[in-house]
């Protein structure tokens, strides 16, 4: 119920438009009822052969409703969809603003990988709240009241009988169908999820399946789920068919029962016979407003669970907060980790265990180690995506928690492995780093990041569309785009997280060249498992399972024949193939 009320709050933003759409919805149904019922009255009255003039009002009204029906319906659809898309826009803004302070710490730790897809689907689901739930329910309520009033004029008994049938069809039938369908519906959802999971697994593993002749066994397993799904769907069809059928039955029965009750009233002279046909068509016509209620109840159930999930995310507390009085960030700061200990809340082991090192302003430190050793966590803490459990991260001699997050991040250029390429032009993707950059600056950054070849090969150059919906970019190109962004940003501190992953050796060499120019004079932290260009580093830290196990310069570490030496030898084993 609280969820429902909160949802209603979103509708409050456009009360007048919403009311107008409901009004038009009522007008649509009323036009139809009016057209049919008044036509019936017209011919009944005509059968009594009065003067033509006596029929001019009903004739005028029949023509009016004949015209108004189409336009009311059109206007209703336009206005109600307009409200829906306004609602969607507001929901998206609301959700974005709630999510922004939570990213990435809360999102990565507490939720599964498909959280965002799910949330976007949920927001889309909620756009139905008005169009498919509130609006039909209100239109039905108005129509039912109006029908009740019409019958009341003739006889209170008829009015209550009509009301009874309308409520039974509008509320009773959906509840009945929902109760019958609940178990099968849940089963269906589970089976479809299972089917998807098995299909994903099989498509991704098709090479292994075929190579080991296991495709038949796989096919049988999928057929089995498929057949189970078909069985559940056949059961569901029996239940879902009831919705339409019972509505049809109830509307006609209502007409029949009202007729049977009205005939003695006509015979007794309490109702004029000329109204009999009129009343039969009023009740038949008013059921039009009841029909959408069946799906309204289904949408209501889905919307409530979608809203529940979204509110749960939106109500979370951000893990990182800005201080009351943020300190100004110095122009040319150094970076220091002092006895930093950290573990992700969803994992038992420590990602960083008592890590201390200092990068003096303008100097370069590399962190190397096997995957899973905690290297990337260093960058995340420096950017204050998370706060350490123990110890402190210092920038320019102050704890990073004393700065405003945006000020802090303005001073840091990041080249990350998981850089997101946004749907949009290459230009937009680059300008993200510095919106005011000039064309010349863009071109220089593209050249330095070795993206010139790609841009030239594209028909629209920098204005070509990239990302999921455009040209898909390879891992190496993504990496170079990240470098170009960092070049544009031109920040005093550089965090390079595996900048040459996914690149072949030739491109790696070229890119390292540009990076070398970029790190001149900048406070640099290079995180990598590729031991390339290590000679230029002022210090190298070897990280294993969250602890610093070796430190020194390239030459020193090679001599000491520890983990660094082993990694170096393994790497030299590789052919230049990729």
């Amino acid at each position: 119920m609280r969820v429902l009320l909160r949802l209603l709050g979103f509708l409050g933003a456009h009360p007048w438009r919403a009311a107008l759409a409901v009004l038009l919805g009522v007008a649509t149904v009323a036009s139809n009822v009016g057209l049919l019922a008044l036509s019936a009255f017209l011919i009944a009255a005509a059968a009594l052969k009065p003067e033509l003039a006596a029929l001019s009002v009903p004739i005028y009204l029949v023509r009016f409703f004949g015209v108004s029906r189409g336009f009311a319906r059109y206007a209703e659809r336009v206005v109600s969809h307009d409200v829906t898309f306004r609602l969607l826009r507001n929901l998206r803004i609301w959700f974005y603003e709630r999510l922004e302070p939570l990213a990435p710490s809360r999102l990565l730790e507490h939720h599964s990988g498909d959280l965002l897809d799910r949330a976007v689907e949920d927001v889309d689901e909620l756009q139905n709240v008005y169009l498919r739930i509130f609006s039909p329910i209100l239109v039905a309520a108005f129509t039912v009241s109006a029908t009740f009033a019409v019958f009341w004029v003739f006889s209170p008994l008829l009015a209550f009988v009509a009301l009874g049938f309308l409520v039974a069809a509008g509320v009773g039938v959906p509840l009945l169908v929902d109760a019958l369908a609940r178990r099968t519906g849940r089963q269906q959802v589970e089976l479809r999820a299972e089917l998807s999971a098995q299909l994903v697994d099989s498509v991704q593993g098709v090479q292994d399946l075929l190579a080991f002749g296991a495709e038949k066994e796989r096919r049988d397993r999928i057929s089995e789920i498929n057949r189970k799904l078909a069985r559940a769907q056949r059961r569901m069809a029996l239940i879902e068919g009831l919705q339409g059928s019972l509505n049809d039955l109830l509307s006609n029965l209502a007409m029949l029962v009202l007729l049977v009750l009205a005939i003695p009233l006509v015979s007794g002279g309490e109702i004029r016979g000329v109204y009999l046909a009129f009343l039969a068509l009023v009740i038949l016509g008013s059921f039009e407003a009841i029909t959408p209620l069946g799906s309204a109840f289904q949408f209501l159930g889905r919307s409530l669970s979608a809203a529940g999930r979204l509110f749960e995310i939106a109500d979370e507390e951000p893990q990182v907060r800005d201080p009351q009085n943020p300190a100004p960030v110095p122009e040319r700061p150094g970076l220091e980790f002092r006895r930093v200990t950290f573990s992700y809340s969803n994992s038992g082991s420590k990602a960083l265990d008592d890590v201390s090192f200092e990068i003096k302003a303008g100097s370069r430190v590399a962190v190397v180690g096997p995957s899973g050793s905690g290297k990337s966590t260093l960058a995340r803490l420096a950017l204050r995506f998370w706060d350490p459990d123990g110890g402190e991260v210092l920038l320019g001699g102050r704890d990073v928690r004393e700065y405003a997050q945006e000020d802090l991040r303005e001073k840091i250029g990041l080249v990350a492995q998981d850089t997101h390429i946004f749907n949009g032009t290459l230009r937009r993707n680059l300008l993200l780093a510095r919106p005011e950059a000039t064309q010349r600056e863009l071109e220089r950054a593209v050249e330095a990041a070795r993206l010139g070849g790609l841009v030239e090969s594209l028909p629209e150059g920098l204005d070509s569309w990239v990302g999921e919906q455009g040209l898909r970019i390879s891992g190496g190109e993504r990496q170079r785009l990240a470098v170009a962004r960092a070049l544009l940003k031109n920040a005093p501190i550089l965090l390079l997280d595996e900048p040459t992953a996914n690149l072949d050796t030739v491109t790696e060499q070229e890119l390292l060249g540009s990076i070398r120019e970029m790190v001149q004079d900048r406070t640099t932290l290079l995180i990598t498992h590729r031991l390339v260009g290590m000679e230029g580093m002022d210090e190298i830290l070897v990280l294993d399972k969250g602890r610093i196990v070796e430190r020194g310069t390239h030459a020193e570490l090679l001599r000491s024949s520890g983990l660094y030496r082993q990694m170096y030898d393994t790497q030299r084993e590789m052919l230049a193939a990729a």
């Binding site: 011919i43 015979s267 030299r572």
Partner: protein, 575 residues
């Protein structure tokens, strides 16, 4: 496309016919119901009869109402059953075909899209087959029935109705065509705008790193507003055909009513037939209106079945071979004889005239830059692809003549990125031989150097792995794949080494396991490591689809600058 589907799935026709028949019967029940209703009202109103006198008619009316509701239900159930049958058959066919298309096809498609076509795409067909298709036929048959009936009641009104009927679809099509063009123009922009939100959320961390995340909220609002404006523009057009339908139907009913009223006044017609015509006029148009509401589902279904048939009509890259499986000896000599291969889309051949022998029990290392044709060659040996020209012979027998499954029994594959299926470790290794005992599986894991880490997993061999289970590192997954190959114990082994280096310990364990595995087998390794080429019996160097050199490491170092470049490159990197 519909025809193709119905040809493929015969029982669907019966269901369709049955659904239409039930719809026609339903319309007959409606005609009966309206006839009884008009009779009752007329007798009470014009004949001043009381309830007792019309009792019989009331019961007939009740019967018609109940029968009609039952037919509505039956039609829905039968329609859905037919759709379910189609969906089930089609899904099985789609999956089988995906397996036939194999890894070279699925690698280029997005898994998510393929799977959503196979699950949601196929589900979308039920509105199409269960409702839309029968409705198309019914929107012709039912008005015709009502017309035939009304001609006998009052031919003037019947002609008026039938005269208006063709105007409606013609106008709708005319308006629809116009709006369709408009909608098409907006389509790309709209789909981009609607994908924008997910994209922004996914990029939130990146936005944050650049300090743009708060400012982006304004863009979210702006894009939302643009989306609304554009969509409304499209919808204003899209709703126009609905407007035409509603408008024409209402006007036609109003015209009929007024015409009846005027004729009643003149005494040209009596009340009962006039009321009956008024009751049946909306029923005359009802199927057309319903067609309008199912049209959207129909369009979606059509689009979905387009995607489904696009996959089904993609030819499989490998033919089945002749029907007889043949015994091949347990010792294999493989000969590639001027093998050419071009991908259907690529103009440049991936392999041009490669001739290479893999003698019994020897290891051949395949080296070359990326794109040289190494994977294509491996795919040909596994028959994921078939040569455009030339032959691959196993002990002198062309492998293309064998049934595919029969041939693959003789090959074991250790891919670069082995896939771990959702299931236990035991099941994953047993993939190679479903009948293997746990002891045999464990023996294979020991040989692969995997037994140690498997025992350290929370539930040992019964630990769930794969997407939804425990994560294994690259080196561990590699060793599970090697265990599979040990269990399969096939005479030909195809190995694709990982391109990036594992951590030093994994690296050593994987190398030892591969050495044990390849002993005594005819082996082809796509090599990325110096150690692998040192220990190979022979090395084959590929460049741009051509086999440039074959020889030992020492021979090639002397002869081939290409090879020297490949093995020396890491040295160059470090200097």
């Amino acid at each position: 496309m519909d025809r193709e589907l119905f040809r493929q799935i015969k029982p669907a026709r019966i269901f369709l016919a049955l659904t239409v028949a039930l719809g026609v019967l339903g319309a007959a029940a409606t005609i009966a119901q309206m006839t009884f209703l008009s009779e009752v009202v007329s007798r009470v109103f014009m004949g001043d009869e009381n309830l007792g006198r019309v009792e019989g008619l009331i019961f007939l009316l009740l019967a018609a109402i109940v029968v009609r509701a039952a037919l509505v239900w039956a039609r829905e159930v039968v329609g859905q059953r037919g759709a379910i049958q189609i969906k089930t058959k089609l899904r099985e066919r789609l999956f089988s075909h995906l397996m036939r298309l194999g890894p070279t096809y699925t690698k280029n498609e997005r898994t998510g899209e393929l799977v959503s076509t196979a699950v949601e795409g196929i589900e979308r067909l039920d509105a199409y087959f269960g409702r839309y298709m029968p409705q198309v036929l019914l929107s012709l048959l039912v008005p015709l029935m009502i017309f035939v009936y009304l001609v006998q009641v009052d031919w003037i009104s019947a002609l008026l109705l039938v005269g208006s009927a063709p105007v409606i679809p013609i106008l709708m099509i005319a308006v629809g065509k116009h709006s369709e063009r408009h909608i098409q123009r907006q389509w790309l922009a709209l789909s981009r705008l609607s994908a924008y939100f997910l994209d922004t959320l996914q990029g939130l961390t990146t936005l944050k790193a650049f300090g743009r995340s708060r400012a982006e909220s304004e863009t979210v609002a702006k894009v939302g507003e643009r989306f609304r404006k554009r969509t409304m523009k499209v919808l204003r057009y899209a709703f126009a055909s609905g407007l035409v339908l509603e408008f024409m139907v209402s006007i036609a009913i109003a015209l009929v009513a007024v015409e009846l009223g005027v004729r009643l006044l003149r005494g040209d017609i009596s009340f009962q037939p006039a009321f009956l015509i008024l009751l049946l006029a909306p029923e005359f148009y009802r199927p057309l209106r319903e067609l309008g509401t199912h049209r959207h589902a129909g369009m979606e279904g059509k689009a979905a079945s387009g995607q489904i048939f696009e996959i089904l009509n993609t030819p499989a890259p490998v033919s089945g071979g002749d029907a007889y499986p043949r015994e091949i000896q347990n010792q294999l000599t493989i000969r590639l004889d001027s093998v050419r291969f071009s991908y259907p889309d690529g103009s440049r051949p991936a392999l041009s005239g490669v001739s290479l022998d893999l003698p019994v029990g020897t290891t051949t290392a395949l080296v070359g830059r990326s794109g040289a044709g190494k994977s294509t060659l491996a795919n040909l040996l596994l028959r994921f692809l078939e040569p455009s020209e030339g032959d691959i012979l196993a002990n002198g027998l062309p492998i293309m003549g064998l049934p595919v499954e029969n041939w693959r029994e003789h090959v074991a594959l250790v891919p670069q990125r082995p896939h771990l299926f959702y299931g236990t470790v035991l099941e994953n290794i047993r993939l190679a031989r479903p009948g293997a005992t746990p002891e045999e599986v464990q023996r294979a894991a020991e040989l692969a150097g995997a037994d140690g880490f498997i025992r350290r997993l929370p539930e040992g061999y019964d630990t769930q792995i794969g997407e939804r289970g425990a994560r294994l590192s690259g080196g561990e997954a590699q060793r599970v794949a090697i265990a599979r190959a040990f269990l399969k114990d096939a005479p030909l082994l195809v190995l694709d080494e990982p391109t990036s280096s594992l951590d030093p310990k994994s690296e050593r364990l994987v190398r030892q396991a591969i050495e044990r595995l390849s002993k005594g087998r005819t082996t082809l390794i796509i090599a990325h490591r110096l150690n692998t080429v040192y220990s190979a019996d022979r090395i084959a160097v590929l460049e741009d689809g051509h086999l440039r050199e074959v020889g030992t490491h020492e021979e090639l170092l002397e002869r081939s600058t290409l090879y020297a470049g490949l093995v020396n490159a890491p040295e160059r990197v470090t200097t």
